[in-house]
Symmetry: C2
Subunit: 204 residues, 2 copies
Amino acid sequence: MAKVKDSNTEEQILDAAKNVFQTKGMDGARMQEIADVAGINKAMLHYYYKSKQLLFEAVFKNAFSLLAPQLNKVLNDDSSIEDKVKNFTSNYISFIIKHPYLPNFIIQELNRNPDFIKTIQENNTFLNIEKFKQQVALEVSQGILKPTKGDQLFINILALNIFPFVAKPLIKAFTKEDDKGFKALMEQRKTEVSEFIINSIKQH
Amino acid sequence: MAKVKDSNTEEQILDAAKNVFQTKGMDGARMQEIADVAGINKAMLHYYYKSKQLLFEAVFKNAFSLLAPQLNKVLNDDSSIEDKVKNFTSNYISFIIKHPYLPNFIIQELNRNPDFIKTIQENNTFLNIEKFKQQVALEVSQGILKPTKGDQLFINILALNIFPFVAKPLIKAFTKEDDKGFKALMEQRKTEVSEFIINSIKQH
DNA sequence: AATTAGTTTAACCATTTGGTTAACAAAGAT
DNA sequence: ATCTTTGTTAACCAAATGGTTAAACTAATT
């Protein structure tokens, strides 16, 4: 066989590619920069991943497979809507603070190439809102929730949790906060957002 | 002077540039494609706008100047919070249905180059949340609203209104709607969103 | 020691891309 | 009528970019 793969080059490449693609996007990323960040020769990128497109897809799928289980919790979990909202909001915001470029990367690239989501859907059977809608309808009929449309509620949950990170520069400009202040606002949202949602939909 | 400017070339260029930049972004846009869309020679782009960067900035500022007055209404209008929320939600969603690429374009490019917002802020004195925060505090003290933080409320209003358009491919995937179904969901939100917000914050 | 097969590199290549140049055309100024 | 200014085009250019090649290197196998 060959050289001891003590430093897994393939992983280093994927890691460097993740950094560059997630900050610059497919169009803004340069193969040379990825090679530089990985500390290797540009030809190696093509040795392990045939083309820029394939390397990008590896990064994208990797990123999406990190996000999907988070969203899945809201859709296919057995707890009550109220508990789901509380847990998801707190967990998701913690998650994104650890992966700040992730939501914007995914949204940006899905907009650039909307067909891309088809490939994703084949691998992820759970991207389905049906169970969640049924649960909302049930809790409404039980008098736990006010009349509420499941799909709109789901959009609202995503919006309130994801948007602030996607629109970070805009929010920083309006609120005149620096990075520290922005982070504080986001920490506050871990409880604020679920209260906001529950306040609106819970029957009392 | 020169040739009859019966068809204002400069405007045609800006219009073509708007189309291409807003769908492909700065990095994905090609000067040749803009020229083709405008139906002119590539050299003309550089005759009227010195460089790709300057043409891009013209497009961006133009786009932002369209969006800013919409946001300004929420911040510096004299009606009650409840009326603001109702009017803004309905108006904003109508506005975006007319300019579907706008929010994503602005958010994407601000993330690519966060310093860009400084240039914007110099021209727009009104990007300031202070008045809104004071109004919320006042209505809370008057017992009209439940205890509510102005900055978080503003983030929530933006999130609920803007996010669905930014994350359109994701939402279409989850809800399994086509373009028509998506538009119907958005039309529904013109009233749903403001009810959702008012439900949550109004004292009763 | 020689073979073998995976790994790595430097140099190279074709194409794309933003930008420039020089010649030309039309209309107003002199 | 001629000069000048503005608008327009085709051809061109240098740099950047994704990708390739062929040779060199490394370590386990025979």
